[in-house]
């Protein structure tokens, strides 16, 4: 039976990148559709009427919304290869916990770093770096959060690395100096084709953020 898989996405979105990585890890062929978020397609509005956001994974006409839910879905449907979640229930709970932590901390704190100034920005910077350090601790001596191979937490987190040039420039921080293990882990992930093909170049994301800042009147 031929599977029809489509991904409604937006190229700089770290959430979209998560789904790209999962699909690549499983070797799934799919159609990629880049959305103009200022002019959302009828397909996007039909597939995600509740949030009207990307990414949306469409499998044989049925939509799956929310990036981590889509990643779990991919893991459960194509369960015969490259498992993303561990098989032990306790390890699975830990993986879900840390992916949820990434969702709660990294995006919002990171956003403060490139959209705010002064005290608010300082608070965002501290939150962001503290979160990275906690994740470094969690990684420990393992090559990946998933152990010997990339797993659910790696997939949820590594997309934000493509935004690091933007965070560093606008936040005036040196992430490698503060969190060397984190950078080493990110670079290790990028050596995998599933990751390197799914993340845009940091410079391209940076240019996109510069444009966004102009639109927000931050420049």
């Amino acid at each position: 039976m031929a599977d029809e898989v489509t991904l409604l996405d937006f190229w700089p979105s770290p959430f979209g990148m998560r789904v790209r990585i999962a699909l690549a890890e499983k070797g799934i062929k799919y159609e990629y559709k880049d959305e103009d978020l200022r002019n959302k397609s009828p397909l996007l509005l039909k597939m995600n009427p509740v949030h009207k956001k990307i990414p949306v994974l469409v499998h044989n006409g049925k939509p799956i919304c929310e990036s981590l839910i889509a990643v779990q879905y991919i893991d459960e449907v194509w369960s015969d290869r490259s498992p993303l979640l561990p098989s032990d229930p306790y390890q699975r709970a830990q993986a879900r916990f840390w992916a949820d932590f990434v969702d709660k901390k990294i995006y919002d704190a990171g956003r403060k770093v490139w959209t705010t100034k002064g005290e608010e920005q300082e608070a965002g910077k501290k939150e962001f770096l503290d979160a990275l350090k906690l994740l470094e601790e969690q990684l420990g001596d393992k090559p990946y959060f998933g152990g010997d191979n990339i797993g659910y937490v790696d997939v949820s987190l590594v997309p934000f690395y493509s935004w690091f040039k933007a965070y560093e420039t606008f936040g005036n921080i040196n992430i490698e100096k503060e969190c060397p293990k984190f950078i080493a882990w990110a670079k290790r992930c990028l050596q995998k084709e599933s990751v390197s093909k799914s993340l845009p170049d940091q410079n391209k994301v940076f240019d996109f953020i510069v444009e966004m800042r102009k639109k927000f009147g931050l420049e």
Partner: protein, 223 residues
């Protein structure tokens, strides 16, 4: 099977804790409830949830699991018995979507529609609650979100069934009524009448009293 050691660190008035209690009850898991004072956090809580320092925390054979929906999925996977999540991957994705929707779109909006002195903020949040409830109203196709029997989404929605009626009474609001969301309202009555659920709900009067006190303090502070 070896003796299971299961502890739940929680507070009596928390809908998040209640979710976990329902899941444990469904699986017939015996556990020790360790009540927490969130104004004076115990060493045990800080040890088992150093990242968020919140309840609920499930401790299973001394290994902690945090975040209520993560805990409920863990309970579903660690113990046999009635399935909480569906078995089909697409249905599971939908269940996770609606549970997350409740987490993201209902809790804060309900709280802010009640515990505010800014009438504009109240109106904005009431509107958000109604929008969220309309989505849930449209999503309810059977007796429960889980179909003929309650499941993951129903458990996630326990705050709508038990906490929202209390809070709206205290603040004189019409968040969920038979008139504005008949299916959701009927669902809440059905859900609360299930013996498993009834046994896991905290006593209404003390919780009502605490919220009412809080609401009245807030109004008094505005004068």
């Amino acid at each position: 099977m070896a003796q299971e050691d299961v502890k739940l660190l929680g507070t009596l008035g928390s809908p998040f804790v209640c979710r976990v209690q329902i899941a444990l009850k469904l699986k017939g898991v015996e556990y020790e409830f360790v009540a927490q004072d969130l104004q004076n956090k115990s060493e045990e809580l800080l040890k088992y949830n150093p990242v968020h320092k919140k309840v609920p925390v499930l401790v299973h054979n001394e290994k902690p699991i945090n975040e209520s929906l993560v805990i409920v999925e863990y309970i579903d996977e660690a113990w046999k018995g009635k399935s909480i999540l569906p078995t089909d991957p697409y249905q599971r994705a939908l269940a996770r979507f609606w549970a997350k929707f409740i987490d993201d779109k209902v809790f804060l909006a309900v709280w802010k529609s009640v515990f505010t002195i800014d009438e504009n903020e109240r109106e904005t949040n009431i509107k958000e609650v109604h929008e969220a409830f309309q989505f849930l109203e449209d999503e309810l196709k059977g007796k429960f979100f889980g179909g003929e029997e309650f499941g993951f989404v129903d458990i996630a929605a326990v705050n709508i069934a038990f906490w929202v009626p209390m809070l709206q009474e205290i603040a004189g609001l019409q968040l969920l009524t038979n008139e504005n969301f008949p299916k959701l309202y009927k669902w809440s009555q059905e859900f609360l009448s299930k013996p498993t659920i009834k046994e896991c709900l905290p006593p209404r009067d003390p919780i009502f009293g605490i919220f009412k006190g809080r609401y009245e303090s807030l109004l008094a502070s505005a004068k």
